[in-house]
Amino acid sequence: MLELKRTTKRFVGAEVVTTALNDVSLQIGAGEYVAVVGPSGCGKSTLLSILGLLDSPDEGEYWFDGRNVAGRSEGELSELRRGRIGFIFQSFNLIEELSVTENVELALEYAGIPTAERRERVTHMLDKLGVAHRGKHRPSQLSGGQQQRVAIARALVNRPGVLLADEPTGNLDSAHGNEVMSILEKINAEGTTIVMVTHSPSHAARASRVIGLVDGALADQGRAAAVS
């Protein structure tokens, strides 16, 4: 379902060029649960950005759902991304000016879902994640765990095929972190492909596959285990 072929991504500064990803080839099948591990600055977030169609590789190919999407414009990537990919972030990234319900509804609105159906799906998702009673609250009025559950609701409300999680438990205590991990396992069990970046070995171990990144390149499994 997701395939990177010899992709390279560079960041050009005033005098320095940084190679964030170096000739990476990777396949992730539909329904897989993949953890990406590696030291800080190894390119994990860049990998996630490319997988999530937030960025384009400078070299190589990226096949998403049978289409090579490398080199597409931002508008085209946005179009492809809409409704197909969900994101969860370490810092939750909820919009403070919107209520919990409005935050979750935003994804459906951008996907052009009619209002009546939007309300139904939002209510169902918030119920499923146990935050329906906080629908009218603002994100800053929620605990960290609740905020992350709202973020997950927002990521899933469009029923995406792929969920990308960038350190989803990084800002949570262990109890809430485990809660989030359980939710991710349930989502994966329902068929959603998950790619998760994490620094936590125990959380990485809950994935079906672990990929290691070192200095922008894939490490082998042994090194991946050592790194993680």
């Binding site: 937030l54 935003l106 951008y110």
Partner: protein, 812 residues
């Protein structure tokens, strides 16, 4: 745009009251100033637009060439009314005659009424309809007349005045009791045809011969004529036909003696011209002419300049808002990145920010409209115009259009920044702030803000100083003890007026009374003549008729020879002539002394002998070059100047006492002599005040722009400042770091603004014969003001930078 976008915008505003207040209020003030100035411009450009088919109404102008340098006036020989109706292309002709100054006495109180005697077809041409009564009947009866609504209120305290009577007086012996036959609306404030009362030709107040003259024009009397001309008709042909009619009219033919023909030197005695009624307000020739209808006139250049100021002030306010909104967008990059990850389209993202900008613009428009409405009376007073007609729903709708347009325009740049946000960078924590080009654009806009403030401040100060200089410029005599008034209301100059002058002279508190055709400081009643020496040298001069004690009461001493002296001269003696130095030089005398005893001729009049040279008096404003003057002994004038022996107040009281004895049915209007000069610069004083307010607003806006720049500079340099402090730099050095950024902006603004201001000041001063030496100091002061304003505006941010705690800054 969706409702949610406005909801988000409203929440953002509610969560930051400080930001919201500054953003909305800043834009509101700019909009209010803009609306007032644009409203005034529209008011000016709409003068006379209320007249039905106004674009095709023309007024007849004439120029009497037998007076040297005579200006165009808005009158034409009345005989042309009948001539015009026979011309192809002229659909109707009418007019009005402001022949009589009218006083109305009601219940023992005297009121001056601005009246016009209407010619047939006038009310139809102007679309005047009665509010009550029968207009046609009222204008055709010998014992009735028409008043406007406000005149009715002024005279009777009520609008229900049909049938009420007043004693009307147009001259000493002409009075009649007349009944009000109709009440009409007031003419709009922006009309050059002003009246409070309409009189018909049959009113018994009007001498019969004048009523006949009004219809035929056989005696050559002038009137204010209006022609309705078909679109596409040849104006040249119509003008030529009217000119021919004047050239061939027997009444004008017989006035051309060989002497006058020589003086005319091939020119016609009367030139005729047609001019659009819609252009009358901005007609500079009519504005300069003391014989044209004394109505409000405007300068098209000044109005255009005010429109430019309006646009500049709105632009400054909009730039401020754009600066604020852009900084806000930069702080909201994470939110924008999230929306992009959720799949927002570019179009949808732009609409969101347009909605937020529109919300601020609409709030600002509402606040701006309220501010404009509250300050409209004060603004009208400042502009010396009745601007109450600006408060209309149509103008409010126009304001809304302007507000929405501002909302759209101010959304462009922030939306463009938002479109450029890269989610991949932001979400991994990379600071993706505005591009260097964008930063430079904002800095450039701030430079322009400060530059505009410097230009406005310099120009305003220069006008203010020049106006002060002109008002205080010596007129050639000390006006402080002099009062001036006119024998108006049709008072006949003769024995009775002579007795009045004598009685006045004998009053305690009055040192003397002199008669002249003009007050010094006005040039309403002079006429141009050519003085010719026996050797053939000649000079064109303005001739003033004065009584023999004129120079004594004005406290003047001769430059050469002697001035008129009651001990030596008799009033109305035709021989002695006093000239001024300019006339002496024009006649070829190298010193004033050489002119004494010389004989001059004025056409075929008896020769006059130059007995003295008087000091140069300023009969005009500082915009007019001093002219050659001649003084002759004649007491035909209606201007009286009273010298107070003690206080002005006592002298005024004495005048009023004697006046009420001699002229109980006439209204006295006394003016201190020094106010006559001030009146010449009233428009300049008003312009200076208006520009002063605009300058304060521009400075405030510029100050705010500097504040935002300083805040942005400190924010961008937070880490740098923290590291500098870590390595031991002093607070003063940090302050200088911030000041350097702001100083560069001010310097650049000065480089742009000062030359522009210098050119504008030079252009303004060019028409003045004498200029204040301080004018160009305004540039230095304006620059100083800008520096002080910027320093105050940046002070808080500079202090914040100096007080920054390195540990806290580096941790965050």
């Amino acid at each position: 745009m969706k409702l949610q976008d406005f909801r988000v915008g409203a929440r953002l505003l509610a969560e930051s009251p400080g930001y919201s207040l500054v953003a909305v209020l800043g834009l509101a003030v700019g909009l209010a100033v803009c609306l007032l100035l644009l409203g005034y411009a529209r008011y000016s450009w709409q003068y006379n637009a209320y007249v039905p088919d106004a674009d095709n109404i023309y007024l007849v102008k004439q120029r009497n060439n037998f007076a040297i340098g005579a200006p165009w006036i808005d009158e034409g020989p009345v005989l042309l009314r009948n001539v015009a109706t026979t011309l192809p292309g002229v659909t109707s002709s009418s007019g009005y005659l402001p022949w009589f100054p009218l006083t109305a006495q009601v219940d023992g109180h005297l009121f001056r009424l601005r009246d016009v005697t209407v010619l047939p077809g006038f009310v139809e041409m102007l679309g005047i309809r009665a509010i009550s009564g029968d207009l046609t009947d009222a204008l055709s009866r010998p014992d009735s007349f028409v008043v406007t609504r406000s005149a009715a209120l002024r005279l009777f305290g009520t609008e229900n005045v049909l049938g009420r009577t007043a004693v009307l007086k147009s001259a000493e012996a002409l009075t009649v009791t007349a009944r009000i036959g109709a009440v009409v609306p007031d003419p709009p404030a922006n009309s050059t045809i002003r009246y409070e009362a309409l009189l018909g030709l049959n009113l018994s107040l009007l001498p019969r011969f004048m009523a006949a003259e009004a219809l035929t024009g056989k005696l050559g009397f002038p009137g204010n004529l209006l022609l309705r001309i078909q679109p596409g008709a040849s104006l040249e042909a119509i003008t030529a036909a009217l000119q021919r009619a004047v050239d061939e009219a027997p009444v004008f033919q017989k006035k051309i003696s060989p002497e006058i023909r020589d003086k005319l030197a091939g020119r016609k005695m009367i030139d005729i011209q047609l001019s659009r009624l819609r252009d009358a307000y901005f007609d500079n020739e009519l504005a300069r002419s003391p014989w044209s209808m004394q109505v409000d006139r405007g300068d098209a250049n000044v109005v255009a300049g005010l429109v430019a100021v309006a646009v500049i002030i709105l632009a400054l306010a909009a730039v401020n808002y754009v600066n604020l909104a852009t900084l806000r967008i930069i702080r909201r990059q994470r939110e924008i990145a999230i929306r992009k990850t959720l799949g927002v389209s570019r179009y949808r993202l732009v609409l969101q920010f347009v909605a937020e900008s529109q919300l601020v613009a609409l709030l600002a428009t509402a606040a701006g409209l309220l501010l404009a409405w509250l300050t409209l009376p004060m603004f009208g007073e400042l502009m010396n115009r009745d601007l109450s007609s600006l408060s209309t729903l149509a103008n409010a709708a126009r304001a809304l259009v302007i507000g929405v347009s501002v909302g759209l325009l101010t959304a462009i740049y922030p939306a463009w920044i938002a479109l450029g946000v890269r989610p991949a960078h932001i979400l991994v924590g990379r600071a993706d702030t505005e591009s260097p080009r964008g930063k430079r654009l904002r800095q450039a806009l701030s430079v322009l803000q400060v530059a505009a403030a410097i230009v406005l401040a310099s120009f305003t100060l220069a006008i203010y100083w020049q106006t002060l200089f002109a008002m205080n410029a010596s007129p050639g005599f000390d006006p402080s003890h002099l009062l001036v008034f006119e024998l108006n209301d049709g008072i006949i100059v003769g024995e009775r007026s002579d007795n009045f002058v004598t009685a006045l002279s004998q009053q305690p508190g009055i040192a003397g009374v002199t008669v002249s055709t003009d007050a010094v400081g006005r040039s309403k009643n002079s006429y141009g003549v050519t003085l010719r020496l026996q050797n053939g040298r000649s000079a064109a001069v303005d001739m003033k008729s004065v009584s023999r004690n004129f120079f004594i009461e004005y406290g003047l001493r001769p430059v050469a020879g002697r001035l008129f002296d009651p001990a030596v001269d008799r009033d109305n003696s035709t021989e002695p002539l006093v000239i001024n130095s300019i006339t002496a030089r024009a006649l070829g005398f190298t010193t004033p002394q050489q002119a004494i005893g010389q004989t001059v001729r004025l056409g075929d009049l008896p020769s006059m002998r130059i007995v003295g040279v008087a000091p140069d008096l300023r009969f005009g404003s500082l915009r007019e070059a001093p002219r050659g003057l001649g003084y002759q002994l004649q007491t035909e004038g209606v201007t009286l100047t009273v010298r107070a022996s003690g206080s002005i107040a006592a002298a005024e009281q004495a005048v009023r006492t004697v006046w009420s004895r001699f002229y109980p049915n006439s209204i006295l209007e006394l003016t201190p002599a020094k106010d006559i000069f001030a009146a010449s610069y009233a428009d300049d004083a008003r312009l200076a005040k208006l520009l002063g307010f605009s300058t304060i607003i521009a400075l405030l806006i510029a100050a705010f722009g500097v504040y935002v720049l300083a805040a942005d500079a400190v924010r961008r340099r937070t880490k740098e400042i923290a590291l500098r402090k870590l390595f031991g730099t002093r607070r003063g050095d940090i302050g200088r770091l911030v000041a350097k950024d702001i100083g560069a902006i001010i310097l650049l603004a000065a480089v742009i603004a000062l030359p522009i201001a210098a050119i504008a000041i030079a252009r303004y001063l060019a028409p003045f014969i004498e200029q204040t030496p301080l004018a160009f100091w305004s540039l230095a002061i304006a620059l100083g003001l800008a520096l002080v304003t910027a320093a105050l505006a940046a002070a808080r941010q500079t202090w914040t930078a100096m007080a920054l705690k390195p540990a806290v800054a580096l941790r965050s």
